[in-house]
Symmetry: D2
Subunit: 273 residues, 4 copies
């Protein structure tokens, strides 16, 4: 079969064991159902809500994930630092300053295809740490990536919707797909940008929704109400997977289709129609 669309499945921030268990149960069949050719997952919260470790990385690979992106929690667990220097499929935001371990982008073979895909992980600065400029970082990295492939997928880990949209307008025309991560809430604005880039402000999280961002809701309420530190604990219950399916034209490198996946879907009606 001559197929000219590449199906990329992205999994939003995996939060601890509830998120990982969901993936154990559903990811293989989702890959199957959507005929996903390449799977990327954000793993910055996969280890108890903060950071990642080697056994989780292996577990995700075994489930069919090809590349794992990160964010502001990528550097939470120092034990994984050495590993991050070796494994080019585990990314952390590229615009952390030189001197930090790990890779911020990679060019990967697409299984069963004769083409490559580039994945770039960036992080915003508004309401976050003042690291290097993600805009100029994107400029030079994408130029380098384009020497090897035009199919480029960007995970921009950022808090502010304005920064996500400004970056999206900056990148439209140069990349195939832009996904936002970090807020842990899926957005309802998946769309095609004028120059062929697939866009979503945030893919959302994969974990417990009987929670605040995957963590115990009572702790979070106490932090807001009392203003004092209270130790976070992982939540469990009402677990959902938030992902995104995109279809990229292999000749034009443009995105032809973008579709959020929330599984199982949220309960939004008692009216039965």
């Amino acid at each position: 079969m001559s197929k000219n669309l590449l199906n990329i499945l992205f999994i939003g921030d995996i939060v601890g064991e509830p998120g990982l268990s969901l993936l154990d149960t559903f990811l293989p069949s989702l890959i199957d159902k959507h005929e996903a050719d390449f799977v990327i997952a954000n793993g910055e919260n996969s280890h108890k809500g903060k950071g990642i470790n080697r056994s989780i990385i292996k577990r995700l690979y075994d489930l069919g994930v090809h590349v794992i992106t990160g964010g502001n929690h990528s550097f939470a667990k120092w034990k994984v630092f050495d590993y991050m220097k070796e494994d080019g499929n585990v990314l952390r935001p590229m615009n952390y300053p030189k001197g930090n371990p790990g890779y911020g982008f990679g060019i990967y073979d697409i299984p069963d295809f004769d083409q490559k895909i580039g994945v770039l992980n960036l992080q915003g600065r508004t309401f976050m740490q003042p690291i290097d400029d993600p805009f100029t970082t994107a400029d030079w990295v994408i130029e380098r990536m384009k020497e090897e492939t035009d199919i480029i997928f960007v995970d921009f880990h950022a808090e502010a919707t304005a920064e996500k949209l400004a970056m999206a307008w900056h990148l439209d025309g140069d990349i195939s797909v832009f996904v936002g991560t970090h807020t842990h809430v899926p957005t309802h604005d998946a769309r095609l940008f004028p120059n062929g880039m697939g866009y979503i402000s945030d893919v959302g999280m994969t974990g417990s929704f009987d929670s605040v961002l995957g963590m115990d809701k009572n702790t979070s309420m106490n932090r807001f109400k009392l203003g004092t530190p209270h130790r976070y604990r992982l939540a469990n219950g009402n677990n959902h997977l938030c992902g995104l399916l995109t279809k990229v034209n292999l000749e034009s490198a443009k995105c032809e289709h973008i579709e959020p996946i929330i599984y199982p879907s949220f309960n939004s009606s008692n009216l039965g129609d």
Copy 2:
């Protein structure tokens, strides 16, 4: 007809003339189509992207809006301050400190119904100005509102998803509907909370999406790339309305149905199926 569901239509942050024109064209027919009994709209950006004025307020009333909520831009235009003291249907966040003009909540007759609805506008503090605590404010105001009605609709204008969810868990069981506003991006998490509250993290905006949050995208990109001030201008083009329809049981005051409305829908596929 004995009807026991109240249909409430909420319109997300209206950004300038593009948003207002959309409402001119579509709001009456949307009200009709969804048989909306009560219409609430967030107007904090309706006047050129920042603030509101008397003629816009009148225009919204004429289109069928019953209550106008606000946010951090409610105090942008001082000319409207005197008006805000008179008109209890134009709200601004309740938890701005005493001494500021305007109302933060109201109890309103529902046309053609024998019941009342309470609307409360609150504002978050994470990544925003440090105003009064929205949690304790909610507590005493809602207690007072409940003396008059159990049907309570809250617009929580906030940046951080964690603060929105913490507030939602705090209010579930006490109110009928919780909507988030301010990020100008609609979220895909509309759902019913365990104790019967309808919830969405953000309704999104009503205005130009060929933009960054409704404002000129080049200005926004310059601000992010250069770090220096550049004057905002309103954007236009690719205009969409982001709203939310909720159905509240008049006996239990619980939300039975919650459904985002994005009109026209975003272009998310070229594949024609």
Copy 3:
């Protein structure tokens, strides 16, 4: 002897053992030299740079401290929470929300005097947690304190110089002395305000100055340069005490004299004059 001036000695944020050791060595003789009648010390960083514990509290009392104030690190060590409920001489900022342990102000007997002194601890919100409004908190607490004494000493623990000065103008005329804490850098603006309040923006810290704010300087540089978390360690070396001597008129409750104490003084010249 009929003495009508009250000498109050304040010690700026004590940072860990280097700060405590300095006090062991010098505080009794400083009290003696300046004939201090009442001694207040900020202890929020006294336990390894973060928080305080019972044995440090006892140690400070034994050295002649009457009241210990706090700040954003007051709630760092939960083991001291129960103690804070019992001992009214250990304060934490008053404007932390209800539900937190501890006292935010107290009225104390002045040894050898027939009068009382009130001490109030407040915390700012600019660039800090959004706790309760320190301005309205100050208003009602000071009114209550004035039922018992007009001699009121305020430690305003805050980051932004603008917030400190705004609060100072708000309080001048109502209190005797205003000291700022938290930045760990002594300011050179000790002065008398027009209505008789002694003012300094920040008293500075008591600890190692071969450091960044009392903590290991290499860790701090790494945090700024790399943008990633690195574990703080206490610094040691080039230890200085930063304090403030104020003299308050017992009849008028006005401050007559304000004088920073930095001991030993910093090395600012090799020129020998």
Copy 4:
């Protein structure tokens, strides 16, 4: 006369006409009194509290200022942008991203000396805009400057004391003098660092102290108390000049003496001794 010390006078943030008038009256005699060989002034607030213009620049040159540094308000008045491209003696922070007008450092002849001095203006990021990294910027700029002179003076315009101290430790050994600006409050920690750098956390401001940071105190109090925007106005009254005198050894390029200048001095005692 063979003189081997270079006397550098620095003037802290000049806030509007009250600051400028003070300089008209006192700067020439201060230069004379302290035998200042080179004069640098921070002018970011000289035009009505925000920005600078051509006539103020000329006025400062006429008063004996050789170099004018800036900060976050350097880009407040676009009319001066063209001028900033021409005049290498008006600096703005070097680490604003490429694409912004103006110079961030310069190498200048010292009048009556056979040596040059380099002046570098940097800006912090903590609690400020996320511009380029001041640490790496300092590294490459100072290396380039050292090709021409070892006498280097840095104005680090920053909010957080931790960032100022981290930068100071980073630069000690490479430069002659480090001054902090921006908080508008003079600090009491002028000292010599171990490797010969003169240091002060903040020089303070030159303007009205019957104010909040040089601006009307009632406006500022309203902003803090009400949380809403109120238009800033310049203050006047109780005007003080905050400056710093440093003496740099021309052979070693090390700072031998550092001394704050506050003129007139603050009123800190009614006791007459």
